[in-house]
């Protein structure tokens, strides 16, 4: 039983879940004082000089100039030619953080964006602060630090400008990489940098940040800082790593999770063309670190992929997964009562409302499958383990595609006894992640291979390995029940999730949380769960929990609105109640005023209520998650053969001020197309513990021709900005299903839609 207010499944603490991240950062932010700011800033009386200062040259009476560059603080480096290098401390996986965070620094600094070069920082949390990414919180949690870094550098340039121009600092402003005076006098940052870096570091509490009306970088559209590298094939992905004398590796694991290795035909494998060596490797019992396997290294990826196909491995699967989706579905359907075993949330007198003959009771049963992350860049890692010579400590260099470098440091310490000082970590750009690259098993596998060969090894998982060894989005079933009074108002809400647990603990993403709408606004509601033990690996998948709970709850609200014969928009707004922030100051808590605003605007933009042609329909959904309020309206048509066309999706999001408008629109468009692709065709099944889908031919993905028009709007409220990597995805599936009902009268309660006879 879990009476935690938010109904957080216990195993969520394994992952950097939403709540954990926020708690941790809050704790830390309370302790950021001058000292820790300086530590984070790397600032001690003028920064780390990477330059030689040449005294007494041209710019002003006694202005020194310099050759090279200086660090103004931990994040900002300025060179003599005026190039401003801003570090991005967080990993980039397509969410655009490498562009948006530096935009905040540049804004406060008064930099010209054209002078800015962004570099991925090394992994060093003492210097750069939080360096993992997830939960769409990276922007929110780094916003103040980025402003501090920019404003701190700006103040030092203003001080330098005052000295160089012999003018009062308070009359100076910084913009376009210049310090200027209303009289027209100015000095460029390049001219001032040799003085600027010697100026005292301002106390963080003395810094004054720009008002929104003063922004000229924040809120504009900037192309991703790596755009040019990406389009020329120089993207810097982990899988592109090449180092001298590198071997290529694969790692074959048990076909069902948890199998123990008995034997393999290593001698045959070693004779295959291009194969250098092969090993049986015993794991440490933790699937997120190192599982039993066979490692093969060779002269090319192809050589080891081919050798892997020739492997004849004996596994002891007595303790391995024997999961069956069919069995799970049968079990779930058999226990589809509205009330389950474990209470997540309980408020008011639900039973009386359901028993009242005057009330109309509606119930429905929903189903959603396991799905794969399907990052297009397969899992990979390059590692070079270097044993220490003559008593020196071992070192390990790792080219690491990960959302969570600090977590790897913990694993390296635990599994290999390597301290942070013994690690040389390169944070690599990721070809998609969506929550996938949060575990470290592919990293440990690469290290194991390197330890055995004595040289660098690039481990690459084939697409087939990447699919079957995923940490999937968990599937599940939900029974919902609602009571409508004679006025057509919802007076009771009940929800029962039949989900998945492992070793008695609910897996990440399974079920729902009691802190979510509509539980938080209902006077009488009950949320329960019944968890079935499954061993298939699960992990966070773009908007975990929310991506399935939005489908069931927002579809069911539409069902209730229809049963009440009421307009969906007005019905939904009534359920939200009067405008209020339920727990003021807590970004995890819904603000019903902001919710109503996005719903009203999306209805307006999409032309809600207009006459639709035959076979066409509009569907609405709203969801609050990851601190974002998002409403979407889908416009579909369905023909007699159930061919579905998603013509257009209108989306309105309130995530506070937008940092990079281009990136923000792109995230919403992408989340909508991802959500559509997933709901239409994607389903992972398992039998006998074996994942049945092996590659893209068995796991359909949406192509360009099926992509809808997406019309994106933002309500740029004054709340602190939050991220957009995830929250635009959850409303899409219910919006489409509600639109299908509007078009056809058919209610879709089961995903994916191709199994319900639909096609695109």
């Amino acid at each position: 039983m879990n009476n935690d207010k938010r109904g957080l499944p216990e195993s969520a603490d394994h992952w950097s879940s939403f709540d954990e991240i926020v708690r941790a950062v809050r704790k830390k932010s309370r302790t950021i004082n001058r000292r820790s700011f300086l530590k984070l800033s790397g600032l001690t009386g003028g920064g780390f000089v990477l330059a030689s200062v040449l005294p007494g040259t041209v710019i002003g009476a006694d202005t020194p100039t310099l050759v090279g560059s200086v660090e103004m603080n931990a994040y900002v480096q300025v060179s003599a030619d005026g190039t401003i290098t801003i570090y991005s401390g967080s990993p980039e996986m397509g969410q655009g953080i490498k562009t948006s965070l530096p935009m905040i620094v540049a804004e406060e600094m008064g930099a010209d964006w054209d002078d800015v070069v962004v570099e991925q920082s090394p992994l060093n949390t003492d210097r750069f602060g939080r360096q993992s990414t997830g939960g769409s919180y990276t922007l929110h949690l780094n916003f103040d630090l980025m402003r501090q870094m920019g404003a701190s550098a700006r103040e030092m340039f203003l001080d330098a400008g005052a000295i160089a121009m012999e003018l009062p600092k308070k009359e100076l402003k910084a913009q376009n990489s210049r310090v200027f005076h209303p009289s027209g006098q100015f000095r460029t940052f390049a001219e001032l940098v040799a003085i600027a870096y010697k100026q005292p570091v301002p106390e963080p509490e003395t810094l004054i940040y720009k008002g929104r009306e003063e922004y000229n970088i924040i809120g504009t559209s900037k192309s991703q800082v790596d755009s040019a590298e990406i389009v020329t094939g120089q993207g810097g992905y982990g899988i592109d790593t090449r180092v001298p004398d590198m071997l290529y590796g694969v790692y074959e694991k048990s076909p069902s999770v948890g199998g123990k290795i008995k034997s393999a035909n290593l001698e045959e494998i070693k004779k295959l063309p291009g194969v250098t060596d092969a090993y049986i490797i015993h794991g440490n019992g933790n699937v997120r670190e190192l599982s039993d396997g066979v490692g093969i290294v060779g002269s090319s990826t192809w050589a080891v992929f081919q050798a892997q196909k020739q492997l004849k491995t004996q596994w002891d699967e007595s303790a391995a997964s024997n999961d069956s989706w069919t069995q799970f579905a049968e079990q779930s359907q058999a226990i589809n009562s509205p009330t389950g075993q474990d209470m997540i949330v309980s408020k008011g007198d639900v039973d009386s409302a359901f028993a009242d003959d005057d009330n109309l009771v509606v119930s429905a049963f929903y189903e959603f499958p396991y799905v794969s992350h399907l990052c297009l860049e397969p899992m990979n890692c390059t590692a070079h383990y270097k044993p220490g010579k003559n008593g020196a400590a071992d070192r390990c260099e790792v080219w690491l595609p990960t959302q969570n470098g600090p977590r790897f440091q913990g694993v390296a310490k635990k599994v290999y006894g390597l301290s942070n000082e013994q690690l040389d970590i390169h944070i690599m750009r990721m070809g998609g992640s969506f929550g996938r690259r949060s575990s470290n098993e592919y990293v440990c596998e690469a290290i194991e291979l390197s330890k055995r060969t004595g040289g660098p090894v690039k481990l690459t998982w084939s697409r087939e390995d990447s699919m079957r060894n995923d940490f999937f989005r968990v599937g599940g079933f939900e029974k919902l029940k609602g009571a409508l009074n004679p006025q057509g108002e919802v007076v009771a809400w009940e929800e029962h999730c039949i989900g998945v647990q492992q070793d008695g603990k609910s897996v990440v993403g399974s079920g729902f949380r009691g802190g979510e709408f509509p539980f938080v606004t209902m006077d009488a509601c009950r949320g329960t769960r019944t968890m079935i033990e499954m061993n298939t690996l699960c992990g966070p998948w773009r908007a975990p929990w929310s991506n399935t709970h939005a489908f069931v709850s927002q579809s069911f609200i539409h069902e209730l609105a229809l049963a009440a014969k009421r307009d969906h928009v007005e019905f939904l707004i009534e359920m939200l109640g009067k405008p209020r922030w339920l727990e003021p100051g807590d970004i995890r808590s819904i603000n019903t005023g902001r919710a109503v605003d996005v719903i009203r605007l999306v209805a307006d933009k999409a032309g809600w209520g207009r006459e639709m042609p035959d076979g066409h329909g509009l569907g609405l959904a709203f969801y609050f998650c990851h601190a974002a309020h998002v409403a979407e309206i889908a416009e579909v048509s369905v023909d007699q053969n159930k061919k579905l066309v998603l013509h257009k999706v209108t989306a309105v999001a309130d995530v506070g001020p937008i940092i990079n408008m281009s990136g923000a629109i792109s995230q919403v468009q992408g989340a909508i197309i991802d959500g559509y692709s997933t709901m239409m065709g994607q389903k992972i099944t398992m039998e006998g513990g074996r994942i049945q889908q092996t590659n893209l031919d068995e796991y359909p993905v949406l192509r360009m021709g099926a992509a809808p028009e997406v019309d994106v709007h933002f309500i740029q409220s004054d709340y602190k900005p939050t991220g957009l990597g995830e929250p635009a995805l959850p409303p899409l599936a219910p919006a489409v299903c509600n639109a299908i009902f509007d078009a056809t009268g058919e209610r879709v309660r089961k995903m994916p839609l191709i199994e319900e006879g639909f096609s695109v």
Partner: protein
Amino acid sequence: MPRYQLKVNSEQHEVEIQSDMPLLWALRDVIGLTGTKYGCGIGQCGACTVHINGIPVRSCSVTAADVAGQDIKTIEGLSDGSAFHPLQQAWIDEDVAQCGYCQVGQIMSAAALLDSNSDPSDDDIDRAMAGNYCRCGTYIRIRKAIHTAASFYEASVQPMVEKQS
């Protein structure tokens, strides 16, 4: 292992490889051109698209041996080195990429399209790009960037190619 002569981006490379090695791995692991990406290995995702004699081909599904001596063009050879190819410029201007991993393959498919049809319609684009998957869902901007690049084509000194469709 047998040796083959591969002509990649107008340069000759002699490679000593397994006869069954797909062109993709010869490019990436042997020649060292890692711009061409591995996605699925079965010709479904299009991340590995290159041109063979101007035709877009999934390099995971053709052996290097089979295309020895033919004109192979990869992303590294798409522009002449002095400026971005119009498609690359359009991709930057339209801020197409999210994770970016599929985009090289998308651009190679789009380049083959524009070489044969300098003013494609949305339908032409959807058809030509159907073999390329984008996990991040950047299709809307890909389509827009192809139109933008097509307008660069028209404005540039590049010879107009007869529209075939």
